[in-house]
Amino acid sequence: MEDVFSHFDLVLKAFWLTVQLAFLSGVAALVLGTALAAMRVGPIAVLRWVAATYVTLVRNTPLLVMCVFVFFAAPNVGLLTGTPFLIKGTIAVSLYTAPFVAESLRSGVNAVPLGQAEAARAIGMTFGQNMRHVVLPQAFRASVPPLASTLIAMTKNTSVVAVFGLAEATFRMRYFVNRNADDTMLIFVIFAIGYIVLVELISLGAVGLERRWKAAR
């Protein structure tokens, strides 16, 4: 216990890495997921097919397997060897999370009444304009709760990289547990609280967004 508090800088550093990982992965996953969702609802058959295949393949693969690909398989064939571990972690987590983002958004897109898109097309908007100005703003609004869930799951999923060389929160938890075998419960609790705080920030952000966008409706 004293060990944890006398080395609290290590705990904070570990959670800071978790925050960095979650933030970078979240941004990357939102961008990639939005692109995938647009491809899936778009008019081009090839892109629809590519996006659907990606979603099927990646969503049905455990994150651990994705990490094995990024951290072991890719470097063994000469890819990503010079890439910093933080970026490798971001790649693995965001590639894995993107299909969940895409599907959350797609449910939002489907919630936008068809007449809206038809009306936009009728006044001559291209598919891109249609998505940007009419469909996606409404779709995001409807997708906030599932997107928040996806991002929360993603934040907790970053713990998987603890066994792939990144000294983030879960890695540090195991470090302390190893050194203080008689205090395991308390150490688990401390780190669990850390995760809860991080995740609660996302929840609060989502609630805020919902409230704001509700007023605009």
Binding site: L64, V68, F71, F72, P75, T81, V163, Y175
Partner: protein
């Protein structure tokens, strides 16, 4: 190597460990040293000792590592584990009149060595088993039969030559090991992985600058890739490998130490080293002096 239970449990569960490359240890070209199996060994031990029982049975169960090349390694198609630890096991068994093929090898991992000894699942543990005061509370440990220490495994063309050079570099080891903590204190960025083979892969493909753990384990990996890898830096910790036995049979300590001392004196110890850890090109060290049995 002190690994926590959580780590081992995670290691067992993680797919990663099964996907990690296993290397090509367990060569068929040499089967280790020829041991001189004693005939009529049972009569040399007093009635009622564990050695007498084992000699009468003609069978002994020895726990070794199956995943540490050079120390104790058993490939999927190998009949018996190979390495310095199994060689020591053969020497000990031979003194009881038990031929190598009559030894029952049992895989022990870091986390189950004490319990296997206490429950009698194995008679001896020879599994890169560092002698520590904590362990001596629950099991007997005779030796050391080999002394190693934490070192670094780097690529042959690496610039790392001393412990000071690791500052600012990325060094991997097994998550939860004391080696990883030590290298972090030396100023390196620790990269924890679940198994040693994953960590070696990271060195080989250039993702990290070095790997650190007991020199003996590193030598085994260097022996697998003699052209690509080398072991550097003088040992900066001391790990004294001992033979584990059950505290129910304290008389085993003297027998273990006498037998290994004899092997050190007649050159079997050195030969065992040459055909296992010595394959990395390192010189055979002086055999360590053993602690007196209590």
């Amino acid at each position: 190597m002190r690994l926590n239970r959580l780590k081992v449990a995670a290691a067992a569960v993680l797919v990663a460990s099964t996907l990690a490359a296993c290397g090509d240890a367990g060569n068929d070209d040499d089967k280790g040293i020829e041991v001189d199996v004693k005939t009529d060994a049972a009569s040399q031990f007093d009635e009622g000792t564990r050695m007498r029982e084992l000699a009468d049975d003609g069978n002994i169960k020895i726990g070794v590592k199956y995943d540490q090349p050079g120390i104790g390694f058993k490939g999927a198609t190998d009949d018996a584990p190979a390495g310095f630890d199994p060689e020591m096991g053969k020497v000990l068994a031979a003194s009881l009149g038990i031929a190598p093929e009559d030894i029952t090898w049992v895989e022990t991992i870091s986390a189950n060595r004490e319990s296997f000894l206490q429950k009698g699942e194995v008679d001896l543990v020879i599994a890169s088993y560092s002698i520590t005061d904590e362990r001596k509370q629950v099991v007997g440990q005779a030796g050391p039969y080999y002394v190693t220490g934490q070192q670094l495994l780097v690529k042959s063309d690496s610039k790392i030559a001393s412990l000071d050079d690791v500052k600012g570099t990325e060094v991997c080891s097994v998550t939860g090991s004391t080696s990883l903590d030590n290298i972090e204190k030396a100023g390196a960025t620790p990269r924890g992985f679940d198994t040693y083979s994953e960590c070696v892969d990271q060195v080989l493909n250039g993702s990290v600058d070095a790997m650190t753990t007991d020199g003996a384990i590193l030598l085994g990996y260097a022996a697998e890739h003699p052209d690509e890898l080398k072991v550097v830096v003088d040992p900066f910790s001391e790990e004294r490998y001992g033979v584990g036995y059950s505290l129910d049979h304290p008389e085993m300590c003297q027998w273990i130490e006498d037998t290994i001392k004899a092997a050190q004196d007649d050159g079997d110890w050195a030969k065992a080293f040459e055909v296992t850890l010595g394959k990395s090109g390192v010189d055979t060290p002086e055999p360590p002096a053993m602690d007196p049995c209590a």
